[in-house]
């Protein structure tokens, strides 16, 4: 099925991208041949999204070049990427729900007769594209009436209607059922058979091995390897994805004390069920799982941000009622949210005000804030967390991601919490700050802090946790510790592979 054309459909050369102090993508090169399915894999934060955004014309590269069919191109806008023949199907759909399938497929490119839309022609063309995909959707149906899987097909149809050289699919199976996944993978192969180059982005390795001709692995923004799928195994890809670097600093020996937080048979909304564990002082429990597995929901529920629908939560033997963050804070539970920008910082406030907002009652005297005490408290944590800012009055949005994260951490610590819930504690943070945050967590735990950690980066979970609970589909799949806690085991549990009889032999397309 591989087209023997010598020119790659898309070639990426030495592409780099920096975000204020963070090298999100570092000198990455790879190519896609016409008719090839090229899988792009890597952990969250490996640089996949940055790369895709640059290929889609959403972000401009800091340096590096792109070639389509051997010709150099730049994509200053998404439209220019489309015109050059690069179609991107994003994880989040960009459909207008009230409009019909046909209108969505040809949005802004509707066939016209004079000034008015040529409706018969629109529907005729839409039907043609839909037929090409061998699917059964009425082009007149409003998109909102379609199930998610079919909405995704509309996205694919839209990309296909632009007659692309390359289609990029970002985690296309994230929202699909097993049967729908099979259909989609079949469709991907059909597209490739038509001569389109497909970049398939996923971290579900079984799908990748089912569909891909070649696999490229990214880690920490760098290109790790590109090889034919037939020369790789799931284990070798996992090893390339996770690397060894962060394992260099070893987890110090821990001395767990008494049980602090006891969770029994917890259920969160409709998404998570059957979570039980005892968290001890001086211990870190890691929650691991793929996106949507429910780990984040557990943390948010324990901080009163999501409704607990069943089960009990006890703090040192006392039942907790967690209806709101204030109640959790009162019970001396601290929380660092996974999305710093959305739920962490208040961008218009100073570093100082962002820090002190949760402890204002402690610096208030007779209704008024005692600014001297506020500043002194801030300085304590500035030194303890090695925060770098020139002035506590500067806006928090002017700090680097790592320093912002330290401010958020300090905010929780200043509340004297006994239990710290950390969600993605080092997301969007540079390597140096990452190491500092790890060291800080080690110190806190040595002083008796109980930490519940959720991270999509497995090395992080392994580096920090004494024990690890692996989630898939909203249910705990097992608890690992000691030597049993390693990446392949976690991966197998997290992808639900353990339920089957061992890892399946990779099916390779030839």
């Amino acid at each position: 099925m591989t087209n023997p054309s010598p020119l790659p459909a898309l070639a990426v050369q030495n592409l780099s991208r920096r975000f204020s102090g963070v090298q999100a993508l570092d000198n990455v090169s790879f190519d896609v041949m016409p008719g090839e399915v090229h899988a792009l894999v890597g952990e969250n934060g490996a640089g996949k999204s940055t790369l895709i955004n640059m290929l889609a014309g959403v972000l401009a590269p800091s340096s590096g070049t792109l070639e389509v069919n051997g010709k150099r191109v730049t994509f200053p806008t998404p439209a220019s990427a489309q015109r050059a023949g690069v179609g991107v199907i994003f994880q989040e759909f960009n459909l207008l729900p009230q409009l019909s399938v046909a209108e969505n497929i040809f949005l802004n490119r509707e066939p016209r007769r004079g000034f008015v839309i040529d409706w018969p022609e629109l529907y005729r063309r839409a039907s043609a594209v839909i037929q090409m995909l061998e699917i059964d959707i009425n082009p007149r149906t409003p998109v909102q009436e379609l199930p998610v899987a079919q909405q995704q097909l509309v996205e694919i149809a839209r990309a296909l209607s632009m007659d692309p050289q390359v289609i990029i699919m970002d985690e296309p199976t994230a929202a699909l059922s097993e049967r729908e996944v099979e259909r989609l993978l079949y469709l991907v192969k059909t597209l490739a058979a038509r001569g389109v180059g497909v970049i398939y982005v996923s971290h579900r390795l079984n799908e990748v091995f089912t569909v891909a001709n070649r696999i490229t692995v990214l880690r920490d923004g760098r290109h790790i390897l590109t090889a034919p799928a037939s020369e790789l195994t799931e284990d070798s890809v996992v090893a390339a994805m996770v690397g060894r670097e962060l394992l260099h600093t070893e987890r110090p020996p821990r001395h767990p004390g008494n049980v602090v937080l006891s969770v029994h048979d917890l259920a969160v909304e409709d998404s998570v069920k059957g979570v039980s564990f005892d968290l001890h002082a001086g211990e870190v429990i890691g929650l691991a799982g793929l996106m949507g597995s429910g780990c984040t929901q557990v943390l948010e529920a324990l901080f009163g941000l999501r409704a607990i629908t069943a089960g009990t939560v006890m703090m040192e033997g006392k039942n907790l009622n967690l209806g709101a963050p204030r109640q959790a804070q009162h019970a001396r539970i601290g929380f660092v949210p996974e999305d710093r920008k959305r739920a962490g910082i208040m961008p218009d406030l100073s570093v100082l005000n962002n820090f002190s907002i949760a402890v204002l009652d402690r610096i208030t005297q007779l209704l008024f804030l005692n600014r001297r005490r506020e500043g002194a408290l801030m300085n304590t944590y500035r030194d303890k967390l090695h925060m770098r800012y020139s002035n506590a009055g500067q806006l928090i949005s002017s700090l680097s991601g790592g320093n912002q994260q330290k401010v958020i951490l300090a905010r929780s610590l200043a509340q004297d919490c006994r239990v710290l819930l950390l969600s993605e504690p080092t997301r969007g943070v540079d390597v140096g700050a990452k190491a500092e945050i790890y060291a800080l967590i080690d110190d806190l735990v040595a002083e008796g802090m109980a930490v519940l950690l959720q991270s999509s980066e497995l090395p992080e979970v392994l580096r920090l946790s004494d024990r690890c609970i692996v989630f898939a589909g909203g249910k705990p799949q097992g608890e690992l510790d000691g030597a049993a806690m390693d990446q392949p085991t976690i991966m197998h549990l997290a992808t639900g592979l353990a339920a089957e009889s061992g890892p399946p032999a990779p099916e390779i397309i030839t």
Partner: protein, 349 residues
């Protein structure tokens, strides 16, 4: 497959042109010591413009510098100004209150009516309680029932005005007894009484915003409500009390305005709500919340009155005055928009 591939040659120095994500802003430079020029402008920009306008008008407009005229400008600015102090609280949280015009009518009518029945104590207190009650109603619906502020306060504007028409029976209340009207028309130490009250309200309002947990919560909730909630800020309660503050301030303005006019009824001061919001916004408070200060609101309220006073003294047609006022608002805000975008671009370096 595609023969019209558009070719754009790669700029060898693309890095300098690369747009940065909003998260990637670098520290601001310059300013007074640790504070950046941006913040200085945000706080004192309008006050500076006000002083400039005063200087220009003093030398170029006959009678503007007259003590009586100047006192009148300050007195006149107090009514919108006091309500604008309260309005700043809700706009800082990204909301606003359109019902203030009707609250003003109801409370002023109530004050004048009670004063005319020689119930001075009640005339000074009952309207305030009514204003606070209206604020509580607005706050409950916006913060706890999560109905958009636009809908709640617009509906309340109709509702309260209609109610005032019904209880007032269509007649304006009248009263000219000195013990009440001196509040609106009098002087204390040569300064118009309403303006003294305006200063007190603005100072108290500023101290609360800057130096109390409630004030911090307002800025936090306005900047990022979700992050504020995660940090433990009682976002809903803060929004509720914000509406109470604007209701109370408006009622206070109403008591003073009734005393100034000797008369009040449901149709009092049409467009008052928009004048109040305009003063807050011209004063530099961002409509989406999180940024702004009472110094700006204070100066902007006086600026509006000064402007219309100057135009009056120049015998300019009242309709033309409206055109001028609208233009000033438009120019000020678009200059502000351009300026902040420029600052952002410069900061990206």
């Amino acid at each position: 497959m595609m023969n019209e591939t558009k070719q754009i040659l790669q700029d060898s120095d693309a890095s300098t042109l690369a747009p940065l994500p909003p998260s990637a802003t670098t520290p601001r430079r310059g300013g007074l010591g640790s504070i950046s020029w941006d913040v200085v402008w945000e706080r004192y920009g309008i006050a500076t413009i006000l002083v400039l306008l005063w200087v220009v008008a003093y030398f170029n407009v006959n009678y503007f510098g007259n003590v009586d005229n100047f006192a009148e400008v300050l007195r006149q600015s107090s009514f919108v100004g006091i309500a604008a102090v309260g309005m700043t609280y809700v706009i800082l949280m990204g909301a606003f209150d359109l019902s203030v015009v009707s609250t003003l009518g109801l409370c002023a009518w109530l004050a004048v009516t009670l004063a005319s029945k020689h119930q001075l104590g009640l005339a000074l207190t009952l309207p305030l309680l009514v204003g606070i009650g209206i604020g509580m109603l607005n706050g409950t619906m916006v913060a706890y029932l999560r109905i958009p502020a636009f809908i709640v306060t617009l509906a309340m504007q109709f509702l309260i005005r209609g109610y005032t028409f019904i209880v007032a029976g269509g007649d304006n209340a009248l009263y000219a007894g000195k013990e009440y009207t001196s509040l609106g028309t009098g002087f204390i130490a040569g300064v118009p009484t309403p303006f003294i009250i305006f200063i007190i309200v603005a100072v108290v309002g500023a101290v609360v915003l800057r130096n109390t947990p409630f004030g911090r919560y307002i800025y936090a909730a306005g900047s990022n409500a979700q992050a504020a909630q995660v940090a433990g800020v009682p976002v809903k309660r803060t929004l509720f009390w914000g509406f109470v503050v604007v209701g109370g301030c408006t009622a206070l303005a109403a008591v003073l305005l009734g005393a100034r006019l000797y008369t009040a009824g449901p149709g009092l001061e049409p467009g008052f709500e928009l004048n109040v919001i305009a003063a807050v916004v011209l004063g530099g408070t961002r409509l989406s919340g999180g940024r702004g200060s009472l110094i700006g609101t204070f100066a902007a309220a006086i600026l509006f009155t000064t402007l219309s006073n100057v135009l009056n003294l120049l015998s300019i047609d009242p309709f033309v005055q409206q055109v001028v006022t609208g233009s000033v608002l438009l120019i000020a805000l678009s200059v502000e928009g351009v300026r902040s975008r420029l600052a952002e671009r410069l900061n990206r370096g």
